[in-house]
């Protein structure tokens, strides 16, 4: 079948989520002719309906991902589908990686190092928090940086109930840092703490691409093309420069989009997959894969949620979905006991409605019938929770790959994620679970229990590094082998730390956009 050809653009970006939309706005405002290709449909604020049931329509509906290992299973929950991608239902937890997270290999002889240090990224973290709008107070356990532009959101009833447990454990609970407006900011409303963040925030108090990046990008002339699933990056015969991308439109027709610069800003799995699919004579194992590391060093965070029922009323349906408060005390101690490795962070007091994966009903999956009803009636006003994120080491065995024996709806090899938590990270996670149960007991719960360990966040697979023989891109996300191809997103992280990745993702996007602006003349032919 003949491919539809389009006029060349200067920059084509695959993906319209937080990475893609931020990059598009930055480069559009810098005068580049930018086109963004989004696999899913157009989204509007009116689709952000306050319902856990309705909100499922915002989630991933692209090709299925196969997952194997003991820390997998949440790909479709984490990814978005349509304008803004996962940025329409993210929780807006906003954290900086700590200085040690950038040098794990050098300091501990395990995992990997980043090619940059915290100091390199600090100004971009500062810039990003102003751009997105971040609420939070000074916390001595966080890395140095500019003050947050807004004060923290108020302490919730849940956090107040849980706080004395942290005190008893010798830890300190602090206000959380969130890309959620505690007060009106930059023309966007302040949060009303109604607990519907993951169903989408149509008032724009939570920074999402429909209210933040896309208005800027559209104003700057960026074109956004929906229902456009990018299947490969094309290169010249020498394999040294990308010439554009191929995508499938809503009619199943292949399109060719020529471009001077190609940026893959998809979710982690799809960044690696797109490069793996982009084989050619000069790069038979995938674009940017001369090192053999493409797809490898996938990581996640090992999550365990502690649940409890409190004597006092906790109003669990209110607040923010991300977390109301935070504990980073002890985060920098990556070796808390013999045989245990990794940082951990406590995210405390997530708003919980009755249903969905994070709802109060699924906190006790074994209950049914009258017992479930009785529990829910109590939990609706007395439930509290907190989640610990534990670090997963970067190891080559955990990876994103293609399964040539299975084809997706587009006839392409299916994506396959393999991820198992290294044993010393398992031990760290178990320590954290015990700590959490002690905290909830000390807080005076009438009942406390821990959920199973699950994955949260998908990271790595197109890691950055100094050595082209051991990484896919340089610190700007630029492929070592093809200078006009960039990657944006958490797939670039060599290590994940133990905190949510979006602040770091955003800081890297701003840094890469600045690099492309600065090197415009050499990147454009």
């Amino acid at each position: 079948m003949t491919k539809i050809s389009h006029q060349k653009v200067e920059v084509v970006i695959a993906g319209s989520g937080i990475a893609g939309s931020t990059m598009a706005a930055e480069l559009g405002e810098a005068g580049f002719h930018v086109l963004v290709l989004e696999a899913g449909p157009e989204r509007k604020l009116s689709e952000m309906i306050s319902s856990q049931i309705w909100s499922r329509r915002l989630r991933w509906a692209g090709p299925e991902v196969q997952e194997t290992g003991d820390l997998v299973g949440a790909a479709n929950f984490a990814m978005g589908w349509g304008t803004g991608g996962a940025g329409l239902h993210w929780y807006a937890n906003w954290y900086r990686l700590h200085p040690d997270d950038f040098h794990v290999r050098s300091q501990y002889g395990r995992s990997l190092d980043w090619p940059i240090s915290y100091e390199d990224l600090q100004p971009w973290y500062d810039h990003a928090q102003t751009y997105f709008g971040v609420s939070g107070n000074l916390d001595p356990n966080t890395p140095p940086g500019a003050p947050y532009p807004m004060p923290a959101i108020p302490m919730s009833s849940q956090s107040n109930a849980i706080a004395k447990g942290f005190d008893a454990e010798g830890l300190k609970l602090t206000s959380n840092t969130l890309a959620v407006n505690s007060v009106p900011y930059d023309g966007r409303a302040g949060c009303v703490l109604d607990g519907w963040c993951d169903a989408g925030c149509p008032i724009g108090a939570l920074a999402n691409p429909l209210v933040l990046q896309w208005p800027r990008a559209i104003k700057a002339g960026v074109e956004l093309r929906h229902n456009s699933y990018v299947t490969r990056i094309e290169t010249d015969p020498a394999g040294s420069r990308a010439t554009g991308v191929v995508y499938i439109d809503e009619n199943g027709q292949e399109n060719v989009q020529p471009a001077d610069i190609v940026i893959s800003a998809c979710h982690t799995i799809w960044n690696a997959r797109l490069l793996l699919l982009s084989t050619a004579d000069k790069h038979p194992d995938g674009l940017g894969n001369r090192s053999g590391t493409l797809g490898h060093y996938f990581t996640s965070h090992a999550l365990t949620t502690i649940h409890g029922l409190f004597e006092q009323e906790t109003e669990p349906h209110t607040g923010v979905t991300g977390a109301n408060t935070l504990c980073l005390v002890g985060y920098d101690n990556k070796q808390p006991a013999k045989g245990a490795f990794g940082s951990r962070a406590w995210l405390v007091g997530q708003a919980a409605k009755p249903n969905d994966l994070l709802g109060t009903a699924l906190a006790k999956p074994e209950l049914f019938g009258d017992a479930l009803d009785a529990y829910l009636r109590r939990a609706s006003s007395h439930y509290g929770n907190m989640t610990v994120l534990c670090e997963e080491e970067s190891i080559k065995e955990n990876r994103i790959s293609l399964d040539p024996t299975k084809r997706d709806r587009y006839g392409l090899p299916q994506a396959h994620v393999t991820n198992s938590l290294p044993q010393e990270n398992v031990a760290r996670s178990e320590m954290a679970k015990s700590e959490g149960l002690r905290i909830f007991k000390a807080a005076g719960t009438s009942e406390a229990w821990a959920g199973p360990r699950n994955p949260m966040h998908m990271i790595g697979g197109t890691i950055m590094g100094r050595d082209p023989a051991a990484s896919v891109t340089n610190s700007f996300g630029q492929l070592h082998e093809v200078e006009n191809v960039f990657v944006a997103g958490a797939s670039l992280f060599p290590t994940p730390g133990a905190i949510n990745p979006t602040a770091t993702l955003a800081a890297l996007v701003f840094r890469t956009a600045d690099y492309i602006r600065t090197n415009r003349s050499s990147l454009l032919p």
């Binding site: 899913g40 449909p41 009116s46 952000m48 309906i49 306050s50 319902s51 856990q52 049931i53 309705w54 499922r56 329509r57 989630r59 509906a61 299925e64 997952e67 194997t68 290992g69 003991d70 820390l71 997998v72 299973g73 949440a74 479709n76 929950f77 589908w81 009303v192 109604d194 607990g195 519907w196 925030c201 149509p202 008032i203 349906h317 209110t318 409605k353 009755p354 249903n355 969905d356 994966l357 709802g359 009903a361 699924l362 999956p365 074994e366 209950l367 049914f368 019938g369 009258d370 017992a371 479930l372 009803d373 829910l376 009636r377 609706s380 006003s381 959920g451 199973p452 699950n454």
Partner: protein, 183 residues
């Protein structure tokens, strides 16, 4: 795949059904409701079995339309689905439910020589408890524990996850944009 299918139910306690009190059900009236409903993917028999199964897990699920809820999502594409299953295994959602309903029937006949909707409430609870404890005798595919987890979520959605359900639990709904209909 086991880790994925036991997403949140890997560690389940011993059966708790024995401690549950009896609940009276007006089955005839509810069955009539099923008969009057049209389905696109499920047969009436499949819908009746699913509704009966979910109604033991969450009382009121049948009346709230759980079978219709599932059928409606299975009738569209993945993008329009509102089932929790789409997060965890979206490769063949209709097949998943259909095989699960067949599993319910097979287990019910094996244990009690009758279809699940015709069992006594105690027998139905015993079946649910066996799914919770991964102790099914002949039902293997899909994993009964995972099928319980998913169908329980469906039942919770239609009974407790709507504006009416919130009100029944005494939870202020606080919508930015209210759902135009429950699902």
């Amino acid at each position: 795949m086991i880790g994925r299918r036991r997403f949140l139910t890997r560690i389940l306690p011993t059966p708790i059904w024995a401690s549950l009190g009896m609940r009276s059900l007006s089955r005839n009236a509810e069955a009539k409701t099923v008969e009057q409903t049209s389905y696109k993917q499920l047969t009436h028999s499949e819908a009746d079995t699913l509704a009966a199964w979910c109604d033991v897990i969450v009382s009121g699920a049948r009346r709230a339309g759980v079978a219709k809820f599932v059928d409606q999502s299975l009738s569209g594409d993945q993008a329009s689905s509102v089932l929790l299953l789409r997060y965890l295994n979206a490769s063949d959602m209709a097949g998943f439910y259909r095989k699960g309903i067949i599993g319910i029937g097979a287990e019910s006949h094996h244990r009690f020589s009758a279809p699940f909707p015709q069992l006594t409430l105690d027998q139905q609870r015993e079946m649910i408890a066996a799914a919770v404890a991964s102790k099914m005798q002949v039902w293997n595919e899909p994993d009964p524990n995972f099928f319980y987890f998913i169908s329980r979520s469906d039942a919770v959605d239609v009974v407790y996850g709507t504006e009416a359900g919130f009100a029944d639990l005494g939870i202020p709904y606080l919508a930015h944009i209210s759902p135009p209909k429950p699902w």
